[in-house]
Amino acid sequence: MDPVYLDHAATTPVRPEARDAMLPFLGAEGFGNPSSMHRFGRTARGGLEQARRQVALALGAESGQVFFTSGGTEADNLAVMGAALAARRRGGSMRVAVSAIEHKAVLAAAHAVHRLGGVEEVLRVSADGVVDLDALDAALASRPAVVSVMWVNNEIGVIQPIAEIGRRCRAAGVLFHTDAVQAFGNLPVRFADTPCDLLTVSAHKVGGPKGIGALIVRNRQSIEPLIQGGGQQSGLRPGTENIAGAAGFGRAAELAAQEQPEHASRLTRLRTRLAERLLASVPDLVVVGERAERAPHILNVCVPSADSGALLMHLDLAGVAVSSGSACASGAADPSPVLTAMGIPAALAAGALRFSLGRDTDEAGVDRAAEVFPGVVAKVRAVTGALARA
């Protein structure tokens, strides 16, 4: 039987349309350097600018606001560190404020700012996984260079109050960055209508290729580049552009934006079905962030008296691919800092699982996962029990 892939928050399959859009730039006609004056360069530049327009349109932004990066991690680093460096250039202090549940790319960038002599401030979240607005106000009082709060959390899917956070940042005259990697494609994301200055997106979460993403930048002067080179992309992100990647991203972004409303309602239905079935077979399952508003593609649960690592292993052997939500690079499941920040006890967080749905998810797949789930839980609980007695 084909394995069931329920780890779309980690990455998604490349859509054939995106792949087709890439191929010309891997071939004899489109291989040129977009900075070259000759016809080969012009062909490449045409492709690059079309991709930029597609991404801009999909995000309700202008082409000139789209800066391609090597992915979400780089875009997050460029936003947080770039804003801190710009503040220092203007004679201000390198202070950044990020939420406790940010992706590691943002947390590590904030920590890097600290190591460069700046200040990193971490905003607490509620038990539902929503950023505390009082903590935000307190942070804004010390005038950070940038506030970074993700639109949708990648582990628990909880939607953050981006509009309200952005409004408060604007009122305080502070730059606001949001990592919209998990939001794009699953929620309506329109840069023009969002009170944020910097926004991160990644291609491979929406059916595009890995190795390309973008930072959407309202004002080029608000951040400093992190790498130096030729003048490509206004010098903000120099280096010969990844045109094939951009072309794939452009097409995938276009489709993701078009399909978003239908996609979201379909995934909401499937997720409800999955949650109901999992709960029916394992009644003491805890759905994380249940009371908060959540993006439709993520279902995070904690299985009491079980260990994520063992659950993942057994599910994989049963042909169901999910994630613990917080795999450290080693692949070992560590207690999730996100769940910890929400005040979930370590013993419960140890059994966290993230099911994440996508375009290729169907009822049969969801049902397969739900079918093998109770058996896997029973096996892993037997292990946990035996180890506790040992």
């Binding site: 690592g309 063992a310 994989d316 070992a332 892993v380 037997a382 180890l387």
Partner: protein
């Protein structure tokens, strides 16, 4: 249906080859790497300490076409192995954490996972041979690791597979190279896995309170009771050690005893290091237990020669009389009992 085996893959060449041989022998192989410790986590921009080994294990598993998982044993390893390591040094003894890891972590905790995965067997890259429920020394005398395996449950030996036990280290490397495994020429690790740079005192300092007696200064005394100097903590010493002692005597001096109650490190000449008696505690048998009058060979240090011994008492621990004196018998090390053909009979911790 082929038998399913869980193979513990550390990311080294031995366990890589163990997995490869099992695949070749037709077993259904599942690879697992135990994440045992992590210092300096919680800093988001630093990689996990054991990440490189885990990556190596993962790429070998991928090359072999077997599934591979990382299991987090940090809490349990800390409780059963690292804590004991610290406690033993605090008691003036010199522990072998690898013995505890085999007894409690690999061949007990990991085996629990093997059960849940319906794995009939468990395999490692140890240089020892498990055959028909009996454990023997590995074929390569320079690599034999049976010394570390005396503490596992007797029933487990029947489920163990030791695919490199009959190989020499050279043969293992040749095999790995032939398969192009990334770990083929990996440097041999000789240190204790959770002790970076062989600096075990740093580990003790991290785990013990600042005023722990084991790390407090004390007297260095001779066997006749004369104080000849001071030391910076008895946990820095082991029996037979020469380094770090006050000089000035004509004959070389060695640590012959550690007295944790008074924090004294006792030194003496080479002639005072030999012993003809040893008592083993925390016994474990892989055969039927020996009784008074039975003889065997006992090995009291890794890579030491085993000496002939006779059981003289079994009431409080196992007391052995040694046929020849053994230098630097060290409490906390293992005494492993061997029978004919290198058969492991059992063992215990030297009292």
């Amino acid at each position: 249906m082929p038998e399913r085996v869980l193979v513990a893959m550390s990311g080294g060449v031995d366990s890589s080859v163990a997995a490869a041989r099992l695949v070749e022998q037709g077993y259904e192989v599942v690879g697992a790497t135990m994440k045992l410790f992590c210092y300096g986590d919680s800093v988001p921009d630093r990689p996990c300490c054991s990440l490189d080994s885990i990556d190596d294990a993962r790429s070998v598993a991928h090359a072999l076409g077997i599934p591979h998982y990382v299991l987090n044993f940090e809490d349990r390893f800390n409780r059963h192995v690292i804590q004991n390591f610290v406690d033993e040094y605090s008691r003036g003894r010199t522990p072998i954490p690898c013995v505890r890891c085999n007894s409690f972590t690999k061949f007990r905790d990991l085996l629990t996972h093997a059960d849940a995965l319906d794995c009939d067997r468990i395999a490692t890259g140890h240089y020892a041979v498990a055959r028909n429920g009996t454990l023997y020394r590995g074929r390569d005398p320079k690599k034999d690791q049976s010394y570390f395996l005396w503490g596992i449950d007797r029933a487990v030996v029947g489920r163990m597979l030791t695919p490199v036990g009959e190989l020499t280290k050279q043969e293992t490397r040749t095999y790995a190279r032939r398969l192009g495994l990334v770990t083929a020429d990996k440097k041999e690790s000789v240190e204790i896995c959770f002790v970076p740079d062989d600096d075990y005192v740093a580990v003790l300092e991290r785990h013990l309170p600042v005023d722990a007696p084991a790390l407090e200064p004390g007297a260095v005394v001779t066997t006749s009771g004369e104080q000849i100097g001071t030391h910076a903590g008895f946990a820095r010493y082991t029996i037979g050690q020469r380094k770090g002692l006050p000089g000035g005597s004509r004959e070389p001096r060695f640590v012959v005893a550690i007295r944790p109650e008074t924090r004294e490190v006792v030194v003496g000449g080479a002639d005072e290091l030999g012993g003809r008696r040893v008592t083993l505690g925390e016994l474990n048998w892989l055969t039927d237990p020996l009784g008074v009058g039975d003889s065997c060979a006992v090995q009291l240090r890794y890579r030491a020669e085993a000496v002939a011994a006779t059981v003289v008492a079994v009431d409080s621990g196992l007391q052995l009389a040694l046929a020849t004196p053994v230098r630097a018998i060290t409490p906390g090390q293992s005494g492993v009992l061997y029978g004919p053909g290198g058969r492991v009979l059992g063992g215990g911790v030297i009292e």
